[in-house]
Symmetry: C2
Subunit: 253 residues, 2 copies
């Protein structure tokens, strides 16, 4: 059992459960006072904690021992146009597992501007982070206009663009020649594609790197996940070992 | 509009629509006689075809010009334990987009042997192949016992194993040192993990390559898709250019 909390974590400082967490521990996991729960908050590492009190809708945990220290998770920001509910749920879950640092919905000319449910994205991100043993929950950012984002893009951050058309190099080749320890964003286009003027905005920026993802047409969410996978495999933390002595995780699905 | 058919494709040889295809063209796409449809069957390449007749539940197409010749798609076989419906739908769709050559459900000791719906897998594979512009539909194989598969594994095919525990090298390192033009399978474990005896069966085989996918715990379907992505990016066809003059595809979602 592993839970995210917004509260501080320190030995023997009680952490209050939310009503949803108390319900999950009590009714889904059938947990009782004394049972062990892992807690993380994105700042204080991961703590072995004991259930001190639990009842309907409330409860407290007592952190006992820091099991893993906090460490930076310098994954890419993921920029994507809004998707329908199922592909978006999927994209959020998978991008958390694959170590994205932030999720940034974008609005383009061809974007169906159905309102994006940030609360649902946030809840999915938290659940995925709990499951995959991350020490932080990626930041879920409010939607921004694509042109505004591009015009205000940080100078020291590359932007990997999954390009369906035009001059692009194979993603493997580009990543292999990228500077180590560099900061990145990953951008996939909307289902309707970018306008030529939107593509032009990318071509004229020194930070963009246009890459191709092979000869098949990938859905927007597939492209995002595939690019993130390649990034982690070549530039990210997949060359490091797995932290040892993990207890097997319990899938909640 | 792009459809898979089991019939032969040759100029001016009529191809009969299934009732579902006629419904899709007529009622979903609002297509009429004379409209263009791309056809493929996994043997004869892709053909520009014209709707010759169409009515409720039936119709015929006339192939006119071969637009792309058939070419081999030597992607990996994907071996996976049964999953719940949503993750399985997702795995099938994404693995088709990412160029798997065959989908092989496996039964392990820790597999929940809920019957796997092969018809649903097949329908999802066809739809994904139509969408992503592949020239073949991956073979959907009936479930097999893991031990049987391992004992009868072809000697000339490597098996990439997504390993949660034990000695494994980073997937990028392994793929980069793999022989080019080699044949592969990709195996992900069941949600409950392999038994030690099942893992032993992998360790003693010369064709297995145990790889790690970084420090986070990936769900079974995420691991399969991530491994397939890395394979395509390093060993597969992602170093080739995209075939030119694609018409933009129309997402069916």
């Amino acid at each position: 059992m592993r839970l995210y909390t917004e509260q501080n974590l320190a030995a023997d400082q009680a952490v209050a459960l939310t009503a949803a967490q108390a319900h999950y521990l009590r009714n889904v996991m059938r947990a009782n006072v004394g049972d062990n729960v892992l807690l993380f908050n994105g700042r204080d590492g991961e703590w072995s904690s004991r259930i001190d009190t639990i009842r309907k809708g409330a409860g407290t945990l007592l952190p006992q021992r820091q099991r893993r220290p906090q460490r930076p998770e310098p994954g890419p920001w993921l920029l994507f146009a809004p998707l329908k509910r199922a592909p978006l749920d999927f994209l959020v879950q998978k991008s958390v597992e694959l170590g994205a640092a932030a999720l940034q919905p974008i609005q383009t000319a061809n974007t169906n501007t159905g309102r994006i449910n940030l609360d649902r994205m946030q809840a999915n991100a938290i659940e995925a982070a709990e499951q995959c043993e991350r020490l932080m929950v990626p930041e879920v950012r409010p939607a921004q206009k694509y042109t505004f984002l591009l015009e205000n893009w940080p100078k020291d951050r590359y932007l990997l663009v999954c390009a369906e058309f035009g001059a692009a190099q194979p993603i493997d080749l580009m990543l292999r020649n990228a500077p180590p320890d560099s900061a990145w964003g990953i951008l996939t286009g909307p289902e309707g594609g970018f306008l030529p003027s939107e593509l032009e905005l990318l071509r004229n920026r020194p930070f963009t790197r246009m890459v191709s993802l092979g000869p098949r047409i990938l859905r927007a969410e597939t492209a995002a996940i595939a690019a993130l996978t390649c990034w982690q495999s070549v530039l990210g933390d997949w060359h490091e070992g797995r932290p040892n002595s993990h207890e097997p995780s319990t899938p909640k699905l």
